[in-house]
Symmetry: C2
Subunit: 158 residues, 2 copies
DNA sequence: TTGAATTATGTTATTACATAACGGGAGTAG
DNA sequence: CTACTCCCGTTATGTAATAACATAATTCAA
């Protein structure tokens, strides 16, 4: 956590331990198998790094951490990120240029995020989109995807 | 309109004419005066370019168009954009890395946008934020700003 | 009216974010 | 085996945004 617009500590953590990560990776592999998609080594590695990070992580941080000895090439990571996003395993946070693991294991969620500007953590919340879909209806606009991102301060950082 | 994921024309236009732009610029100047802020030449020029463009426009397009004879320096435009955004005269569209003039002349609006992926236009809609604020409340999260952007197809591009 | 403080701009350089293009390798269906 | 598709590694480039510092304009109080 290298954020800090504040002085307090940011150890109010909910990071996955390595067992938790392994479990999530196994789930992801199963999901890909079921979908007829290939969970390749770079994709798996990218997902592992996203899961290991406690909050939204930047593409170039993934690039830096990709290999134990040195950085990956950008396309390697960006391609993996695109794939993982299509598979619903991660989300892109538009207002941060960052990526976060999907923590909504239920079906058909419309990802919305509470983004703490103090500690950098994100919370994914399930939201019904009635407001925006109603407006879209009124405008005869066909919605494909909705981005909802709220910035502020989390409970621990209040 | 250089968008086009489609073949139809995109002349379903609502661009401001030069009188309309002049009027909006005058409003903006009055607003700054009232707020004790300075509407300087680069800020006015930046706003003029945003208003003249029918839809979200990229920062570097503004940079290219800034001077009749040649491009501006990036900080000139980015600083102006920051100012205009703070004044509520424009909005940044996070999912496009672009900027659009604020078309909501009423008070206290929570900007949400319908973004056509076909013709590139945007519609600003007023939205009540009950859904996300309710979720934030449940998480004891203090919301500062909310980004809501829906992508899809507008009526004319269906 | 002068001069210090503040605010805004000009300028150079750099950092951060993302994709195009191409050649090659691994899986797969016939 | 062969053709096909998908994915990967690599080089290079394109695009978006800011750091840092010097200069200029404005404000305001002495
Ligand atoms: Zn926090
Ligand atoms: Zn904090
Ligand atoms: Zn359209
Ligand atoms: Zn169209």
């Amino acid at each position: 956590m290298t954020h800090a617009a504040c002085d307090h500590d940011h150890h109010h953590d909910h990071a996955l331990d390595s067992n938790g990560i392994e479990a999530r990776l196994a789930e992801a592999q199963a999901l890909c198998l079921a979908a007829g998609e290939r969970m390749t080594a770079p994709r798996l590695r990218t997902l592992e790094l996203v899961l290991a990070h406690n909050g939204p992580i930047k593409a170039y941080d993934l690039i830096d951490r990709f290999h134990p000895e040195g950085a990956a090439k950008p396309p390697t990571v960006y391609r993996s990120l695109s794939f993982l996003e299509q598979m619903g395993l991660i989300h892109r946070i538009e207002s941060l240029n960052a990526f976060v693991a999907c923590h909504d294991h239920t079906e058909s969620h419309s990802a919305a995020f509470l983004l703490c500007e103090c500690c950098g953590k994100s919370e994914e919340v399930a939201l019904n989109l009635s407001g925006i879909t109603q407006k879209a209806l009124e405008s005869d606009f066909k919605v494909e995807r909705v981005t909802i991102e709220a910035k502020g301060r989390c409970k621990a950082c209040r």
